[in-house]
Symmetry: C2
Subunit: 350 residues, 2 copies
């Protein structure tokens, strides 16, 4: 899934250059390219489908030169994740009715790719014996920014896998602390695993309007006509939680592979290569008595001489047309800037 | 005097674009252009001479389109202020042997130009009855960055003017507090006033080597040959203090016209137009919960959308090739960056 837009990495991320196309994982590779490369040992790129927005199709192809042309699905307009996954599932079913599918967000980072692949292989095993499987991330802090999964008993067929007892929405701080302390809760990673046929059935059962739309989407013209009218609904709310309401339908594999959803400039700093003083700076930057700062130069700003003196815990991002400065601890407040730009009608900067 | 180079406004100031050519006084005019305009009511531009470095001659002419070509003196190499003033004095003497000269630095700011002109007119009166006159700034804080002038009795011929009792070098903090408390000390502004003939005599008496060099400097070729070999010495040390060693030779007019030597990015912030939160930002900037910051965009960086969130008391300066971030209170530490660039051999950035 590579259709996301988003504002949390403004000014580097823009409508035409969203987060998954940016190298935010600490290297020079975009999050999308890193995601495809990371799973290639178990899902060859010839069998990887990328679903993105039509406006991002060209940029996405450039990012993935080895992706076969027919493996890129371009959504005419954004309809959330259920139509995205529904369309991909139908496309895969037509190629291989026995396929088992792994759905992965394209804008996450993983420190230990081998660990991720091991968890994926367990989850694909679970998908053979359950309607759905997911990977839940072992929480390391009482984060209120994620949905949680409560684990139940073991899935007997797959070592280490659990039944999902329930999915819960983003909790408040007190509840997040309880969840962490209980040891029974995992973060919802947004990764799903299923037999193509099982998902098709689940969509027919729980989202019949979507199923009818997908039935009509034969050929590019039909996609352009029908897709924009599909119900805009998430796979979590529309399918996963509804299937999971019946006990024994959904399994979860606990994962522990240095996962990050790369949610803000704060995470980008965490993932970046840093000097001894904790600064993540462009090559050749001068830092005098400066600590734990992130400076990113994009576009024509690349190559500028950066000099920091006596500043700490700042994020500084410069692009062709914008310059952002804020404390790392307020990385979420980039939203306030984006809102202000919207209010001023500066869509050229979004 | 417009020959200064300097590093305190890096990255905006460069070897080829020093402080006096930058608009650091709060408006859009360079400090040099503002200086010439400020005194024009009493010293018309046709009688204003500008002495600058040969490498800055073109930029200086562009900054002062109404300056007659013959009023720009271009020094082949920097030799401090005594050769600069000596050359200008000889040039003026040749045009008008009775001239009285006002020497002004070109990189200062004045809030109250009429007040400055009134003080200048008093100082020019003092210059008629003394070997030298100067304007001393009434101190507003125990600054250790300026030389001080101790005042003696009144100059009877000019209302409000004092004899200079002595010139003192930049004091330490304790002494600066004493000077301020005493009420008898003024800051040395670097402005001097004298009859052209009196200065010529003073140079012959105290800097005979300089006088001989000036005698030989007839014609452009001679300037190019002789000027670089003149003794490099300041007018303060070489002439003013020596003349002032004899009582009754130097008078001073106390000045109180919102003077600033524009010594650092901190002063630039003080002089700049600011919003209600004390931010001096480019037009259209977005400031969310941000206070008392200075952001300057130069060259191709102009017009960028600036966004500040939750930061206070920062200086951010961006040029075509550099980006500086430091707290306002550490503005002096720009020097550390310049030293680091020199050490790396990055003269292209200086």
């Amino acid at each position: 899934m590579a259709g996301g837009s988003g504002t949390r990495f403004w000014p580097a991320s823009r409508a035409h250059r969203p987060k998954q196309l940016l190298p935010l994982g600490g290297g020079t590779e975009s999050l999308l390219a890193a995601t495809v490369a990371r799973i290639a040992p178990i899902v060859p790129t010839e069998r990887t489908l990328v679903v993105t927005a039509a406006v991002l199709a060209d940029a996405t192809r450039r990012e993935l030169p080895s992706l076969p042309a027919e493996n890129l699905l371009a959504e005419p307009s954004p309809r959330n994740t259920a139509p995205c996954i529904g369309w991909a599932t139908r496309t895969i079913l037509a190629r291989d009715p026995e396929a088992i599918i792994a759905v992965l967000p394209s804008d996450q980072h993983v420190d230990d790719p081998a660990g991720l692949r091991a968890s994926m292989q367990s989850a694909l095993e679970v998908a053979k014996v359950r309607a759905l499987a997911t990977i839940g991330i072992r929480p390391t802090r009482p984060d209120t920014g994620f949905g949680y999964i409560e684990t139940g008993g073991f899935v007997p067929e797959v070592d280490g896998a659990h039944e999902v007892s329930r999915f819960v929405e983003k909790p408040d701080a007190a509840r997040a602390r309880e969840y962490l302390a209980s040891g029974r809760f995992l973060w919802n990673s947004g990764m799903f695993f299923f037999r193509a046929r099982a998902m098709d059935e689940a969509i027919r059962a729980h989202l019949p309007e979507l199923a009818r739309g997908l039935d009509a989407m034969i050929g590019d013209a039909a996609v352009r006509e029908v897709f924009p009218a599909l119900p805009s609904i998430s796979i979590d709310y529309g399918v996963v939680e509804r299937v999971g309401a019946t006990p024994g339908q959904v399994g979860v594999v606990p994962g522990d592979f240095g996962w990050s959803d790369v949610g803000s400039w704060e995470s980008a700093w965490e993932l970046a290569a840093k000097d001894d003083a904790g600064n993540a700076l462009p090559e050749g930057a001068i830092a005098v008595d400066a600590r734990r700062n992130l400076v990113r130069l994009e576009g024509s700003a690349r190559g500028k001489q950066v000099a920091l003196v006596g500043v700490e815990d700042l994020v500084v991002v410069e692009t062709d047309d914008a310059l952002l400065v804020l404390p790392r601890g307020r990385a979420q407040d980039v939203r306030a800037v984006v809102e202000a730009l919207k209010a001023k009608g500066r869509n050229d900067l979004l």
